[in-house]
Amino acid sequence: MTAFIEYKGVTKAFAGTPVLRGMNLAIDRGEVMFIIGTSGVGKSVTIKHLIGLLRIDRGEIWFDGQRVDQLAERALAPLRKRIGMVFQGSTLFDAMTLAENVALPLRKHQRMAWPAALDDARRRLARVYMAEHADRYPAELSDGMRKRAAIARTLALDPEVVLFDEPTTGLDPVSARRIDRLIRELSATLGVTAVVVSHDLTSTFAIADRVAFLYQGVVHAVATPAELRASADPIVQQFIAGKSSGPMETPGF
């Protein structure tokens, strides 16, 4: 069986500095896959390549039997309906209210009229307990509230895959666990495939089906959380234990 999402030998360099060096990864439909690794190792870069926000230098990326790494911006529109992304900063549009933010993809991708899109947006905000804030602007809200609204915006198109870029970074522990529960529920109830870039090992061990550990531009290990904990690999163990000294080579430290 071919994987739902597959990276084959992907390389990417920024200004001559290699980030991904022939990375391979296969993600199955409906699973919650965590991508972990040190800062700057290319985790966010990996997921941005899937939806054409960045272009790979070499290699191939496949989604549901279709090669997607060479698609032009216009041809990416159908793909971006099926794959949503929750960005690291909530990236709500400052000049719009929350309802307008959530309505924008409905209007653009589903071609809904503004009043209908706004009604739908309010319903979707209610599902993440943000109904009473629908007419407020992002700057007036807390980080956790913005993150919830950003998730509502991403889910507005009912995507099959949701990419989360560090969804719990900067949140208090209670809000972080709520986001974890939401990701798990998406997978369990709607069959959504979740690809989560994270530093948060509590989240990783709580909700991941599998974990890909990125190191030196390649996937160093793919395993279930239990297998990862039990791994004898000294590099994996150093990362999990968060030790400052060990076999890991971290540039700049």
């Binding site: 926000l53 911006e73 529109a77 900063g89 990236t91 924008l104 993809p105 653009k108 071609r111």
Partner: protein, 281 residues
């Protein structure tokens, strides 16, 4: 000369040539990217006008931009063009008083200069700083906080959403501010001449030397500057990278690029105007 010294000199030369080559390639790429943003903006306008494409912009965005670009620049243009009009007139009258003392032609010639050159160009330069910096900072911070990526994920073309409304607003408001700035500059000049040198206002406010071509030059220049400033600023904003430092770079580049665009366009349009009119000033 030792072979080592010769080798290091050759290496230095090689590096210099390489640096120049890298800079030329980077400049070429930037020029191509700017051209693509320009074409993209025009294509966005055509999409907006012809197919009534769903652009996703909030209602009244163009009017909001007209207010931000036009109304909020009013005092700035009033002050800068007013003072420039006073200084230019004072200096010119001072020179005339020392040479001939004849101010009879000065008002009409100053009006011709204000309409065909000073008014649009100085207004354009002022707007390249105020409006250009604002647009680049706003779009640049959207870029570095991934809002542009989020727009793309929402199915929105960033140029249609961000640059087209600013472009259309700037076209209208630059023209309006150019007319306003020219009136302010000429009036301030007239008052200075009257109070400082006793020039008869009836003699100064003399439109007899104005021809249709001078008005055409004002309109063409204002429209060209109004088009160039938001495109250059938007382009710089979209190229912002990293964090706040990237936004700072984009803002500086937008002010420099916008000012250069105004000066180069002023030269080109004036030159074309001279050729078309057969050298008539």
């Amino acid at each position: 000369m030792t072979s080592d010294a010769h080798g290091s000199r050759a290496g230095w030369l090689h590096r210099q040539i390489e640096d120049v080559g890298v800079a030329v390639v980077a400049a070429g790429r930037a020029a191509l990217a700017l051209w693509l943003v320009t074409i993209g903006t025009w294509a966005g306008i055509v999409r907006w006008l012809s197919r009534r494409r769903v652009h996703g912009r909030p209602h009244g965005e163009i009017v909001r931009q007209m207010h931000a670009i036009g109304n909020r620049s009013l005092v700035f243009i009033l002050v800068t063009l007013g003072f420039l009009g006073m200084v230019m007139t004072y200096e010119a009258c001072l020179q005339l008083s020392r040479v001939t003392g004849d101010y009879s032609q000065f008002g009409s010639q100053f009006l011709r200069l204000v309409i065909s050159d000073f008014g649009p160009t100085l207004t354009g330069l002022m707007l390249a700083t105020r409006v250009g910096a604002g647009i680049a900072a706003e779009i640049g911070s959207m870029k570095v906080t991934e809002q542009i990526d989020a727009l793309r994920m929402s199915g929105v073309l960033p140029i249609d959403y961000l640059i087209v409304p600013r472009f259309l607003a700037s076209l209208v408001m630059t023209l309006a501010l150019t007319v306003f700035g020219s009136v302010v500059m000429y009036t301030a000049g007239g008052l200075t001449a009257a109070y400082s040198f006793g020039v008869n206002p009836a003699l100064f406010f003399d439109p007899s030397s104005i021809r249709g071509r001078h008005i055409v030059l004002l309109v063409v220049k204002a429209v060209a500057f109004g088009a160039a400033i938001p495109v250059v600023a938007g382009f710089c904003g979209l190229r912002a990278r990293g964090s706040s430092e990237g936004v700072g770079w984009a803002t500086t580049a937008a002010v420099i690029g916008g000012s250069l665009a105004v000066i180069i366009l002023d030269f080109a349009i004036s030159a074309i105007g001279l050729v078309v009119t057969g050298g008539e000033p």
